[in-house]
Symmetry: C2
Subunit: 525 residues, 2 copies
């Protein structure tokens, strides 16, 4: 299991990372002689985030890692002897596979085991699942807006809510549909593809008077003598400036020196950050001079980055300059140098950058994907549904905070085109619904049932941990990412659209509805 090699996750998912009331309640259960009562909790959310109609389930690899670790270690005497012997060996978990579509009220996790133990799991499980699912969902929205072609780079580590938030964000934004992350640790620990360019400080750190210890660069083919790249770029600069109608003194010499330094270090991966001084009078001509010098040696520059101003308009203009220069200097590959943009890009800005005809290739997103500013919390909850085989329900006077009682099964009912029609919750002991069979189901709050005849029925919850043992290997992060994209592609357009979508229904079986009614009426089931 990959997670076992992840010291970061191990450190973060520590038993003491919990709310104090879990420990006080544990003592309460124990004093009441109920610590080992069989109990079942469900983890779910009540409303889809971001005003959409779907969420992605995520966080599996983190909470499995957490559950594999032992519970409370270094504590006090007395009842703590009981705690000391605790572990998750009697805990069973069913879960929505990572990357599945998740809807309100459908459990992302069902956790059953001794009452005291599964109560203690509340806080860490909520913490590990909610943010992971929120970020994955947020990333999926951004991918839907960007379309399949644009490359999305997550670069939010510095904006994350704590270092571990950064690691979680990088992992699950990749799962949700991003292509890569700037976060090196996410690459090392989680296998997320990493990518990066250069910062303005790299550019401003050069004045142009620096003398590199070894200015020579060998040709890409490896044959022939090395060339002084800075001198070669200076020669090209004159041609570029003449072509662009600029004075050769205009481009900043420090910026050019920085580009040369970067090209010497990465001749096969040269990128230029264009907006430290002036894109048009400095960044672009300096980039072209160094790229053309590299080209003469057989290397192809890979990209330019813009971090300020009107990104779309500049990209369109820069592409025109690339095309003209490619023709002028007869270097066809220059036409297709990647244009990378960044600078507080949110959903609205992304839609503009991804529009038809946009010349932007790679979009770097930080704050908007990592902190989920539209809604920074999923609002996951973890509720007791059964104790000792008896259903439990929080009735409360606030109807939205009522819970659905009993140990349940969940199914996705699909139409003949394979798109999900609705999810159905039923009691665990009810027979599995069959494809083609007419079902009577209760939409939430309905006065009477409706009928549905699904073309296919998919069970939603997979046995993931049984009596503390992992039942099957976790899918790789890339596999979960593929599942997310497949699931989203099957979702019908009215549920998939990001603003004012049709709400996806989660319905109850007749027997589950009857149980809810009887508990609301104060009758024992």
């Amino acid at each position: 299991m990959a997670a076992e090699q992840d010291p970061e996750a191990r450190a973060a998912a520590r038993p003491l990372l919990t709310d104090l009331y879990q420990a006080t309640m544990a003592l309460g259960y124990w004093r009441a002689g109920r610590a080992r009562d069989a109990a079942e909790f469900e983890l779910f959310f009540r409303r889809c985030p971001f005003g959409g109609a779907f969420a992605l389930a995520a966080g599996l690899r983190d909470y499995v890692q957490f559950l594999a670790s032992v519970l409370p270690p270094d504590t006090d005497p007395a009842f703590f002897e009981h705690l000391r012997a605790l572990d998750c060996s009697e805990v069973t978990v069913r879960a929505l596979p990572e990357g599945s579509l998740a809807f309100p009220g459908v459990p992302l996790l069902q956790v059953s085991g001794p009452l005291l133990v599964v109560q203690l799991l509340e806080t860490p499980l909520l913490c590990l699942v909610s943010y992971a699912s929120l970020v994955a969902t947020n990333a999926a929205r951004l991918r839907l807006i960007a379309g399949p072609e644009k490359r999305l780079l997550e670069m939010g580590l510095r904006r994350a809510q704590g270092p571990d938030g950064g690691l979680t964000a990088s992992t699950y934004s990749y799962l949700g549909g991003f292509d890569s992350s700037s976060n090196v640790l996410a690459g090392q620990l989680r296998g997320v593809p990493v990518a990066g360019t250069l910062a303005h400080s790299f550019v401003t750190s050069f004045s142009g008077s620096e003398v590199p210890p070894d200015p020579m660069l060998a040709p890409a083919a490896g044959e022939g003598p090395g060339v002084d790249l800075a001198a070669k770029a200076q020669v090209w600069l004159e041609q570029v400036c003449a072509h662009l109608g600029l004075g050769v003194q205009e481009p900043h010499p420090g910026e050019r020196a920085a580009f040369v330094a970067y090209a010497l270090a990465f001749p096969r991966a040269f990128q230029g950050l264009l907006d430290t001084y002036s894109v048009w009078r400095s960044g672009l001509p300096n980039f072209l001079a160094v790229a053309l010098a590299l080209g003469e040696l057989g290397y192809r520059a890979v990209g330019v980055r813009l971090d300020s101003g009107d990104l779309l308009q500049q990209a369109q203009e820069i592409r025109k300059v690339f095309r003209a220069a490619a023709a002028q200097f007869q270097v066809p590959w220059l036409e297709s140098v990647l244009i990378v943009v960044s600078n507080n890009i949110d959903e609205e800005a992304l839609a503009r950058l991804a529009q038809e005809g946009s010349e932007v290739n790679v979009i770097g997103i930080g704050t908007s994907v990592v902190t989920c500013p539209q809604q920074p919390s999923l609002g996951g909850v973890y509720k007791l549904v059964a104790v000792g085989g008896q259903p439990r329900m929080k009735l409360t006077e606030d109807p939205e905070k009522q819970t659905l009682p009993g140990s349940k099964a969940a199914f996705r009912l699909l139409g003949s085109d394979g798109s999900p029609l609705m999810d159905m919750l039923q009691l665990a002991e009810e027979p599995v619904p069959q494809a083609g069979q007419e079902l009577r189901v209760w939409p939430p709050g309905a006065q009477e049932p409706c009928t549905v005849r699904p073309a296919q029925v998919e069970p939603l919850l997979r046995l993931c941990l049984q009596q503390g043992q992992l039942c099957e290997p976790l899918p790789s992060l890339a596999e979960s990412r593929a599942l997310a994209q497949l699931s989203l592609s099957r979702l019908s357009p009215e549920h998939r659209r990001l603003r004012s979508p049709a709400q996806y229904q989660v319905v109850l079986s007749e027997r589950l509805q009857a149980l809810v009614n009887s508990l609301c009426a104060g009758q024992s089931p």
Copy 2:
């Protein structure tokens, strides 16, 4: 240093937790022979968060811990030999003390040392400082709204953006003015006072038919025989129901059993969660019955919690019931049982709960303090200001993204009443401004200077690490919390108010302004 005993911070603040471009730039510097050039960066933000006019500086204990750890470990051959030998032994850091007021453009950190090393520090320092300062500022706003009397409990771990986000949030919301946290790990590692109540699942897990293994409770004084608490509560229930005009069958027996179980476990810290079924017909009479039974044994119940509905109105009604019951049953302490409320409390809801005459005592806040939904990122930046003793500036066509060049000193200029008038940045080599002296300073974007005669002058940046060595012990978290409250109390009301405050000015000395002008004009300084 407390942070050294903090394995969580050690694990989170890992060298590889950085953006890839830091590593590529490092290679660029190295290849250019500039890895050891003396350089200085500043970490600051450009706009105060949440529409306010101030922020609190925080994160010191985390980044000091980070800097104490070594740089890149397990990497590749070649230039990685250079990296392998790297550490922070040549890094010097000046910082705003934790809990200080921070304003846009004033460095929270000045970091100087070898170019390659201090470049590599960008991402982790931003990550560690920005969120800490954001949360501290957010908590300070909530404290200002709540006033000094209400107790504020942070309970956002389950809503945090990753487990470490939870630890950071708990630590720095305490620094910003909260009284306690539900997060046990923050208590263990950071010394934050922890507090907690009980969850609805604890209540719903009881049906009322359970038989506790030991139902007897000894009197508080320790003398005399034990009493069957459940039976005693049942007797009190009849009196309470008669007093409240309720049928004795109305209160839920499972809820009462849960309260008894909790009281048996914590007779000196009994609290009731009132809204699992019905506050008025069940939670409150059950609480009173158990509290009065405990009272007979010499124990005082400490509180009740509400988690739904109109919290203020219910608190007012509950206090009336407590007063009436205190008189009826002659138990005066019942009047002052704490009323604890929670349920998605934001700034607006908090203002209502803290209004004159409110009977609410403790306010639990989760999502709103931890995720900072009004603005989930501070937008901290880390910019190069000098290399080899020469000032550096990012000019860029976007004026907001320009930087202030040169190694600088920062001072807070105070009025005769001790309230801060403005912060002043000047070049490091300029003489320290003197109290009572007239200064000519440049407000941002001004066409001409203005004059100010401060009654006091405070230097802002303290030497914190010199050549990799900690210069003085870090203040305790409680000391930083006290500094934050003191600093906020000195801020003038027009800068302190949370909506549409007067903007606090950060001005430049004449020489610094002249340096900016000469670099903008393209002249070497």
